[in-house]
């Protein structure tokens, strides 16, 4: 961002903004446009949103961290806080750094930038409706963004709106920008202008998951709306004319999972997505996928439970449930992406593994990932392989052939004269109901035999380099980047620490680094009971303690570091 203003405040490599206001005030739009502005200007951002379970009013914020691309966690406090609403100001202002800048209308405090937002909005479009764009313009100027870029982004964002609306919005942003310029507000732009090194993507966790599904060959999704998972089917529906995917809203989650299984039986790569409550309803279907050996990918976007819980918040409370969900015993994969990038890649792997082993794969996401924005390089489309694991047309095809590997290659019904069967009862090789106990035994063993090979598909957890650390922090899923940052912080403060971060959870692989070591091992989990820690214990890992958070918010790295210090 080209900003030569000498009054610019000193900046670290990390600038943080929090934009807040009531639901319905267009906070997300401001946040998204500002994020885009940074990205278009060549910077990496990470952003996360917090909402309440309502459509209008209440408190909602959009938090942006601008960084050199390595920071992937939220700060305790912010350099800039912008508010569109009084109550929100009261609620979020405590998060402002001492030297930070606050921007809101009607402030009396001299240190606060207090723009005439409503007035400018009226001026721009004849109503208060454009307040958020006025603020966007102001923020853009404060962070030294270019107005032309802002205009382009607005145009694209509102591309399906009428020309009048677009120009009023652009006008509002301009008025805000100019007001800020004229009033010579403090600047936050030590970030020296960067050449935009090719266009990077600004993408949300849900979008990355959806895009990964597309790249993984998904052809069918059925789902029932549920926060924070709805963005996935929404994206797949919106893009279906381009991808040919059939995206259907089911009458309930039971239908959603059974439709996905039906589509998969017919030969389409299929998935469903939901949150904990909906997943609960899918559990019988999961067991069906296990029994019928029909590939299935389920995205479980976690939120705090039990029951309805906190619908718009984040938690990692469903790991052991996902692992043991479904009556009877059958193998499954469980992946928990650590980032949007990882989410995309794991979706490809999920579809691939599901097809190869004919087992269900569960992707554990959460609100933190679903509603966060990431700056990513384009994915390598050449990495898209889409291996065809179907049986070649052959005589004597049987859907449940007993093999050494346990894998019985599938076939698409109708693709040849072979008959393709699926049976929820215990069955023989041809898929017919059996009550012969010896066959039951063999089939149960056949299904389970796949697990041995599945174990080998699992990548080891990521271990940050260190020799002889005092502390090992184990993380899984979306916690991982935060925990890695915490480990760095601890090491810098003299407590040699490493992070072991898991994104492929099951089958569980335990690296040497966790066995028979003198280091104290802490499991860091966004839940109350330390679910992953319990899993590690079954493998003999000695857990010194659990660092947990279960109030609906993600960790900050500082909170983790602090918790570790307290435990020493």
């Amino acid at each position: 961002m080209n900003c030569g203003a000498s009054e610019a405040k000193k900046l670290t490599m990390r600038t943080t903004l929090l934009i807040c206001g009531k639901a319905g005030q267009g906070i997300q739009t401001i946040g998204y446009i500002i994020s885009k502005l940074f990205v278009k200007s060549g910077y990496d951002i990470f952003a996360w949103q917090d909402f309440q379970s309502r459509i209008r009013g209440g408190e909602t914020s959009f938090r942006i961290v601008v960084s050199d691309g390595k920071v992937r966690s939220l700060p305790e406090s912010f350099d800039i806080i912008v508010s569109l609403d009084k109550e929100n100001t009261k609620f979020y202002l405590p998060l402002l750094k001492k030297e930070g800048i606050a921007i809101y209308q009607g402030a009396t405090d001299k240190n606060v930038i207090s723009p005439p937002i409503e007035e400018l909005s009226e001026k721009a479009g004849g109503s208060k409706f454009y307040a958020n764009m006025v603020l966007t313009g102001i923020i853009a100027e404060v962070v030294c963004g270019e107005l032309s870029l802002v205009n382009n982004i607005i145009k694209r964002e509102f591309e399906d709106k009428s020309e009048d609306v677009v120009s009023a919005n652009i006008n509002a942003a301009k008025l805000g920008y100019e007001w800020s310029l004229k009033n010579n507000v403090k600047k936050f732009c030590k970030i020296t202008p960067k050449k935009s090194d090719g266009e990077k993507m600004l993408i949300s966790g849900n979008e990355a998951i959806a895009l990964g599904a597309i790249a993984g060959g998904c052809k069918f999704i059925s789902a029932y709306p549920m926060t924070p998972s709805s963005g996935i089917i929404t994206y797949l529906s919106k893009t279906s004319d381009k991808t040919g995917i059939l995206a259907e809203q089911a009458e309930d989650e039971i239908s959603a999972v059974n439709m996905a299984i039906g589509a998969s039986y017919a030969g389409a790569r299929a998935m469903t997505s939901t949150s904990g409550g909906g997943f609960s309803l899918m559990v019988e279907g999961l067991s069906l996928a296990g029994m019928t050996e029909i590939p299935l990918v389920i995205v479980l976007a976690q939120r705090p439970g039990p029951a309805t819980g906190l619908p718009t918040r984040t938690e990692q409370g469903d790991l052991l449930f996902a692992l043991h969900a479904g009556h009877g015993e059958f193998p499954r994969f469980i992946f928990a992406p650590t980032s949007a990038d990882d989410a995309y890649k794991l979706m490809l792997k999920a579809f691939d593994m599901s097809q190869k082993y004919r087992v269900p794969v569960i992707i554990l996401s959460d609100q933190y990932l679903a509603d966060s924005y990431w700056t990513l390089n384009n994915f390598d489309v050449n990495a898209i392989a889409l291996t065809d694991y179907y049986a070649q047309t052959q005589k004597n095809f049987m859907s449940y052939k007993i093999t050494d590997s346990g894998i019985s290659a599938g076939m698409k019904p109708g693709s040849s004269e072979n008959l393709v069967t699926a049976d929820s009862d215990e069955h023989d090789e041809s898929g017919h109901i059996t009550e012969v106990l010896a066959i039951r035994k063999k089939m149960n063993e056949k299904r389970w035999r796949k697990f041995k090979l599945m174990e080998k598909e699992i990548s080891h957890p990521k271990i940050s380099p260190s020799k002889d650390p005092q502390i090992i922090l184990v993380a899984w899923g979306t916690n991982s980047l935060i925990v890695e940052e915490a480990a760095e912080k601890l090491s810098q403060s003299g407590i040699e620490s490493v992070a072991v971060s898991y994104s492929e959870l099951w089958p569980l692989r335990v690296p040497e680094a966790l066995m028979n070591v003198d280091s104290m091992i802490f499991a860091v989990e966004n839940n109350l009971t330390g679910q992953f820690a319990n899993l590690l214990k079954t493998k003999g890992v000695k857990i010194a303690g659990i660092i947990s958070k279960y109030d609906g918010e993600p960790f900050t790295s500082e909170q983790i570091a602090e918790a570790v210090r307290k435990k020493l």
Partner: protein, 279 residues
């Protein structure tokens, strides 16, 4: 030419000797071959129950899923590959009981699937509890002092939900039933054929009882008129009409062609295109 023989397999039936389900099995088989559908071109879909075992007794593709969940699976099978024919065989408990919400959902969504409900007015496989269609007052081992709820009328509810093919068959009228099923294949959309299927173990009446009770709807009954269908269903007479009550096509759910293939090159292109939108 395809023959009924091609649909025969070696699987021993677990139905009671003499059960009227065998009649439905024959009718389904005859309808399939007279509709010239080959065994690999059709998927029989079912849930769990006595009725739901039918797919095992025909040599063809089948998907025998969960109790109550045949319709979503069948809907999706047809939706992703419209080249497949899809026939659901289900029970009154499976379809109107456990599966009630999918019955609503599937009738409304209108996939091009055919649904034969073996309506024996009982949960037979679990040894005789009341189903939604069990007549008022019937004593069962669980409803020991009699069912206290008037029975669910599947055809009336289907009509109220906008079903485009509403029919009743009788397991004792094989030719008529096979014709109904064949007709349903000519119809594009969700077709409901509720079949009177007397259970000789738990049923109130023997098959013979219905032999004289049923009468076949004739041309007199205008099958394109919704209100006549309603009226026919609402008017209780001594005799039970069988045949098509109502028929009207409307928009179907599902892809226009087989979408089951994930072509790498096509997918790479669309991913590339979509990525550019995030830039």
């Amino acid at each position: 030419m395809i023959t009924a023989e091609e649909y025969k397999n070696e699987i021993k039936s677990a139905w009671c000797p003499g059960c009227s389900n065998f009649g439905i099995l024959t009718a389904v088989r005859n309808a399939l071959f007279s509709s010239r559908i080959k065994p690999h071109e059709i998927v029989l879909v079912s849930g769990i129950g006595q009725a739901a075992k039918l797919p095992h007794y025909l040599r063809c593709n089948f998907f025998n899923g969960l109790h109550g969940r045949a319709l979503p699976a069948a809907t999706a099978i047809k939706a992703v590959n419209p080249n497949l024919k899809v026939l659901v065989t289900t029970g009154d408990g499976d379809c109107y009981g456990e599966g009630g919400n999918h019955f609503i959902g599937a009738v409304r969504r209108n996939p091009d699937i055919k649904v034969v409900v073996h309506n024996n007015e009982i949960y037979a496989l679990t040894k005789g509890q009341a189903s939604p269609t069990t007549p008022y007052g019937t004593k069962t081992k669980l409803q020991f002092d009699g069912v206290k709820i008037p029975p669910f009328d599947p055809l009336l509810v289907a009509l109220a939900l906008g079903c485009g093919f509403v029919a009743r068959g009788f397991a004792g009228e094989l030719v008529h039933l096979a014709d109904l099923i064949s007709e349903s294949f000519k119809f594009k959309g969700f077709a409901l054929i509720d079949v009177i299927q007397p259970c000789i173990i738990f049923g109130q009446h023997k098959p013979e009882f219905y032999k004289d009770k049923v009468f076949k709807l004739t041309r007199e009954h205008c099958i394109s008129d919704y209100d006549s269908a309603m009226k026919l269903l609402r008017t209780s007479t001594e005799k039970i009409p069988i045949g098509i009550f109502y028929k009207k096509e409307r928009e179907c759910f599902g892809a226009k062609s087989d979408i089951t293939c994930s072509e790498p090159e096509v997918i790479k292109r669309s991913v590339a295109e979509l990525m550019s939108e995030f830039c």
